[in-house]
């Protein structure tokens, strides 16, 4: 158990900078998820923490101790790899024992720890098989088991579910959450899948191009994304964005002229908005309702996905695509004209640089 603190962490390969000034503090027992598109540096950051990559700047503290120059072996961390990285020539038992033997632990204790982990993960029925004889899900468990027996300061998990099929991924995700609840150890988890991030994390770290975009609880990120990137990345399906120019800004609402020339008035206001600014409106598909009469904005249906419990409508309005998810079943076909109601929706405003503007008005 322990806290991990990163201050001004930098990592460069020659002239290529992959991490810029990362500052992050991870509390003891926390489940932190690094999320971001591929190539954003999240895996590199994890490997830097693990000690598999040397930092080129900044300081890294584990339990308050500076560990920049401490080797991976001596940082007391355990890692679960994307490919599991089980030793193919060793049995499951030997895989679990390898790390413990290396630290010179007594045989009896090794056996005890392995037994405990095996029971916890229900892998005791194939302890004497080799990884090649196991299914993907079984290998996954062994990889986690290899980390557990080490009783590490923190667990580092590098996209551990990406090699599993969809169904197994959901159930294993739940098991990892349960495991964290049980072990109460610090876990750092890297994924590109925001659903995994939302369901598992105490706190999510959203990364892009070697920088941290936002750190917060899953709901913080969902409700108050710091910028357009986070807003688009968190939540599925993606948030709708409408770009335009501010025509009028009052305390009751904002009027915007979209790029195709049509006007749209939304009941959110921001003191930071000036007439003439370029802004982006952000509305989550789930927050759009079907309106009647003259309320809302007119849209053309392009495609309808009837999922039974809800209906996904691909519409076109204001010269761009809009996605709306409405509950229940609707009799709509492509080509229909509908009206999208935005009144009840929490609407986000982003400035020209993509930063979120503080808003007041009709909020959730």
């Amino acid at each position: 158990m322990g806290s991990i603190t990163l201050t001004n962490i930098q990592k460069a390969y020659g002239a290529v900078h992959v991490l810029h000034d990362i500052n992050l503090s991870i509390e003891e027992g926390e489940f932190v998820v690094f999320v971001g598109p591929s190539g954003c540096g999240k895996s590199t950051l994890l490997r830097v923490i693990a000690g598999l990559e040397k930092v080129t700047g900044g300081d890294l503290f584990i339990k308050g101790e500076r560990v920049n120059d401490v080797s991976a072996a001596d940082r007391g961390l355990a890692m679960v790899f994307q490919s599991y990285a089980l030793y193919p020539h060793m049995t499951v038992r030997q895989n679990l024992a390898f790390g413990l033997e290396n630290s010179g632990m007594a045989k009896a204790e090794i056996a005890e720890r392995i037994g405990e982990a095996a029971r916890m993960l229900e892998i005791d029925s194939y302890m004497d098989r080799r990884p090649g004889q196991l299914s993907g899900g079984q290998r996954q468990r062994v990889a986690i088991g290899r980390a557990i027996v080490r009783r590490p300061t923190a667990f580092l998990l590098d996209e551990p579910l990406s090699n599993l099929d969809a169904e197994l991924r959901v159930s294993t995700r739940a098991e990892i959450a349960a495991l964290h609840a049980r072990l109460k150890s610090t876990m750092i988890y890297v994924t590109h899948d925001q659903v995994e991030a939302m369901t598992l994390a105490n706190r999510i770290v959203v990364m892009r191009a070697g920088r941290i975009e936002q750190v917060g609880t899953p709901l913080d990120l969902y409700n108050a994304p710091a910028n357009r990137f986070v807003a688009g990345f968190i939540g599925a399906p993606h948030m709708n964005f409408i770009e335009g120019e501010v025509l009028g800004a009052t305390a009751d609402g904002t009027t915007i002229r979209a790029d195709d020339g049509s006007l749209i008035a939304v009941p959110v206001a921001s003191t930071e908005v000036r007439v003439g600014d370029r802004v982006t409106l952000g509305i989550r598909p789930q927050h759009i309702a079907l309106a009647t009469g003259t309320a809302g904005i007119e849209a053309k249906v392009r495609m309808v996905e009837a999922l039974g419990s809800e209906t996904v409508i691909h519409a076109e309005t204001l010269g761009q695509k809009m996605l709306a998810i409405v509950p229940g079943q609707r009799l709509l076909t492509s080509g229909d004209t509908i009206r999208l109601g935005l009144d009840a929706a929490p609407i986000h405003l982003f400035d020209a640089a993509g930063l979120r503007l503080a808003t007041s008005g009709a909020q959730h």
Partner: protein, 350 residues
């Protein structure tokens, strides 16, 4: 039988014989005879007595003339089937030959000499394996010593080759360090320098460090094979780096990573290299010939060549020892041929 016939005449599409089919089978059967024939012939010959070896035309199987002990004669006499003047044939023992007439006796009635024209008698022959061709070189000459030297050189050189080359291949495949490309280049360059080009200076170096007339002088220059480094490195590149990361997280030292993770996982490539190395070192000739000048240090290859170069070549011993020299290679061929051929096809070029 039907099976064998079906097997031998199996052809494309099951149509009639095309001329290319005939060429194919003539070539293959011819190849079988030309490639295996000489070694088989040598093996048969190695069981013949010197007398049978001197015979022309030679027989395929090792025959000797039957001998019999006859009362009144000290030495055993050779048995012949002689055609008697009355047209009958009788088995007689030859006492001596004078010109074209052989003096013979009936083994059952040794008192009376019978004269027979040598054209009228045929030796009574039986198949006998002259195993003394094999036992004598080992008991009376130094061949046991040669055999031991060859085994020692082969085994030691192969072990060192495996260790030294796999260590270098590990460093060259899994580490990033300054001078890695230079090291690769040096190894590549040594491919261009065969032994025959550096014979003289190599000999002087071996003499300087006191390894002349020493089996280690034969072993050491051969163990750092560029081919070995290449085969192993290519293979190690396919081992995922994540395994090494995992081992580092598991508190393994670099040395442990090498021998507990990398070596076991490189086993197939190590096996190929081991087989190659055994065949190479067992077959080495020119270098041992130069380094070893004392009889008790000769390897089998050197010993054989020295014996065969002597004035009165004792072919019966040479042939037998050639067969002995061939045995390990034939064993490798029978059991591991598949390994080698796929090894050459897979890594020899690409």
């Amino acid at each position: 039988m039907g099976n064998a016939r079906g097997f031998l005449t199996r052809r494309k599409g099951g149509k009639g014989w095309h001329w290319t089919d005939i060429v194919t089978w003539v070539w293959l059967i011819g190849g079988l005879i030309v490639m295996f024939g000489p070694a088989v012939w040598l093996t048969f010959s190695s069981f013949k007595t010197p007398a049978a070896l001197a015979e022309f035309p030679p027989s395929i199987l090792p025959y000797v003339t039957q001998q019999v002990k006859v009362d009144g004669y000290e030495k055993p006499l050779a048995l012949f089937e002689a055609k008697m003047p009355d047209g009958s044939t009788q088995v007689l023992a030859e006492v001596r030959r004078v010109g074209i007439v052989a003096q013979m006796v009936d083994p059952k009635a040794p008192g009376q000499i019978i004269r027979v024209n040598i054209a009228d008698r045929q030796p009574v022959r039986e198949i006998a394996f002259a195993t003394e061709n094999y036992t004598k070189p080992f008991t009376q000459f130094d061949f046991v010593q040669y055999l031991w030297n060859s085994v020692f050189v082969t085994v030691t050189a192969t072990l060192i080759t495996l260790i030294v080359n796999s260590m270098a291949a590990f460093a060259l495949s899994k580490y990033e360090f300054k001078g890695r490309n230079a090291a690769m280049l040096v190894i590549l360059a040594t491919l261009m320098v065969p032994l025959s080009v550096i014979l003289v200076p190599l000999y002087s170096i071996i003499s300087t460090v006191g390894l002349f007339n020493n089996l280690w002088g034969v072993i050491l220059p051969t163990v750092a094979t560029p081919t070995g480094v290449f085969i192993l490195r290519q293979y190690m590149l396919t081992i995922p780096d994540e395994l090494i990361d995992a081992a580092r997280m598991d508190k393994a030292s670099e040395w442990q990573i090498y021998w507990r993770i990398i070596l076991p996982l490189t086993a197939p490539a190590l096996a190929v290299l081991a087989i190659f190395s055994v065949v190479w070192r067992w077959n080495d000739f020119l270098w041992p010939l130069i380094v070893l000048s004392r009889r008790e240090l000769y390897t089998l290859q050197v010993g054989l060549s020295i014996y065969s170069g002597e004035l009165n070549v004792q072919w019966h011993y040479i042939l037998a020892m050639t067969v002995v020299t061939m045995i390990p290679v034939v064993l490798v061929f029978i059991f591991l041929q598949r390994f080698i051929t796929t090894g050459i096809a897979g890594s020899g070029l690409k």
